[in-house]
Symmetry: C2
Subunit: 294 residues, 2 copies
């Protein structure tokens, strides 16, 4: 990873996690619920979504005191989706990032409610922006609800569940990813653009960037599952094939999947040209996504 | 029920249900998810929450074109909470209002996601108000997220689950109801007050009204379970005692519970005096709550 991106992440990940902890500690809720919500919020992770919000504003050279709240709101949504995805009736996962999943610690009922509470809290947080015109705050709430709801992330999760039972076409596979993970990633970049109030055509360029790094990330994930060692991955290599999960290499073959990865990287890079900055964080992030080995 | 209240309900319930159907039909989501969300939204019910929003504005003699959207947003939240409450890991109910519960028809995974999608949709709907100043729309979103989240309804559901395992005091029992059902009912009345932009002291009077009818409703529910016949109730009478559910009659005895019901009714009625209207819908609603026999 490029040094500039690495130091940006090192610096801001701490700030994001402190802010998330603060938000959880201020919550006036029954102890078990609060503990369950905080457990998953404080469980670590790459914090890629909140970092994407902050990196977008950094690249746009806009300082916005509300950015951290927006960044945390996205992470609350992402965390609720992980808790619900891990449930026995969904992916039925006992572990996430090496720790027990929420329902394994608190039970299913509390885990479902913790997810529900985190979703509500995300929207509440967006009503507390202090330096953003109300009309823009409403725009952000509208964008986040759409990106995370039935027309975005939740819809993508359904497509993913249904896709497990059948052979998907390339368009269908892409549609799963565009909704399940892409919609929320796009929100992060769009939120930065909204807070920075940049021209609509530049916002659209950033949306193209977001869509393409989202797909690139997924393709690289699939490729690494085939090519990397279990040691490098930190999880069992080849597990996609074992679980008969539909992947890009399975659908296109490894070479075509790599070509497609390169294509998404190129488009993402090109869409950032308007920034006139060869050292943009978003550009380095796109590079990192295709170059990473785990 | 008083004629005036009855005709208000008859007229507006249809409008609310048409609007909810319209909202569902416009949703651009995967078919199974959309169908699952619409199944529970169109499953009927008293629509007491949206009616409360509209009745509050009617009593305040304020005509607000956005009221119906706010009313529907509350019903989306209420419906998501019912879907999640019915899940096997929660109340494990197979039937609601004589129909199969959502997860019995669509499976647990889809039911959880349908609830998640309905919550997001409620907040999205509140970003689409057209005649309300943005600052008030944000206030409404903040109030709804708080009322429905960990500090309100979701927190109350946790207290209810935990309360099943122990003997509750009167204060603890009240705290369950104030959060689990009261917070959202209070939001309905408060939302009407916010849309009508009435003075703060009148808003506080309406909040006292809301709190007291919420508790009165619950006490009457508990009393009817003891005193009414199974035929009158449309569900098994005495089921609370069989299930060892903590109730007001169990805690206070029947007579004291009835006294308490009367007290909440009196306070609710008194808090409406500022309306200077003996025929207010909210007043008739308070009367109906204590007089109903099923």
């Amino acid at each position: 990873m490029h040094d500039k991106l690495q130091s940006f992440i090192d610096e801001h990940k701490v700030i994001i996690e402190e802010s998330l902890s603060q938000i959880m500690s201020e919550l006036d809720a029954p102890e078990s619920l609060k503990s369950s919500m905080a457990y998953s919020i404080n469980a670590g992770g790459k914090r890629i979504r909140p970092l994407l919000v902050l990196a977008t504003l950094e690249d746009l050279k806009v300082n916005c005191s509300d950015a951290l709240k927006v960044a945390c709101a996205v992470e609350l949504i992402h965390t609720y989706s992980l808790i619900h995805d891990d449930l026995p009736s969904m992916d039925d996962d006992d572990f996430r990032r090496g720790s027990l999943t929420n329902h394994k610690v608190y039970g299913e009922a509390v885990a479902i409610l913790a997810g529900d509470g985190l979703q509500a809290l995300a929207f509440e947080l967006l009503t507390k922006l202090t330096d953003t015109p109300p009309q823009l705050a409403i725009e952000l709430i509208g964008l986040l609800s759409k990106a995370s709801g039935a027309e975005g992330m939740v819809g993508g999760q359904i497509l993913d569940i249904e896709g497990e039972r059948k052979q998907l076409s390339l368009i269908e596979l892409e549609n799963v990813h565009i909704n399940k993970t892409g919609a929320l990633l796009s929100f992060c970049v769009e939120a930065g653009a909204v807070l920075a109030t940049i021209p609509i055509e530049d916002k659209e360029r950033l949306m193209i960037y977001a869509k393409n790094i989202g797909l690139a990330f997924q393709i690289q994930d699939d490729i690494l599952d085939v090519t990397a060692s279990t040691e490098e991955l930190g999880k069992t290599a080849g597990s996609d094939e074992t679980s008969e999960k539909m992947t890009y290499p399975a659908l296109l073959g490894l070479e075509k999947a790599k070509e497609r990865l390169g294509e998404h990287h190129r488009i993402a890079r090109e869409s950032l040209e308007f920034l006139n900055n060869d050292e943009s964080l978003l550009g380095h992030l796109a590079d990192y996504i295709v170059e990473r080995r785990y």
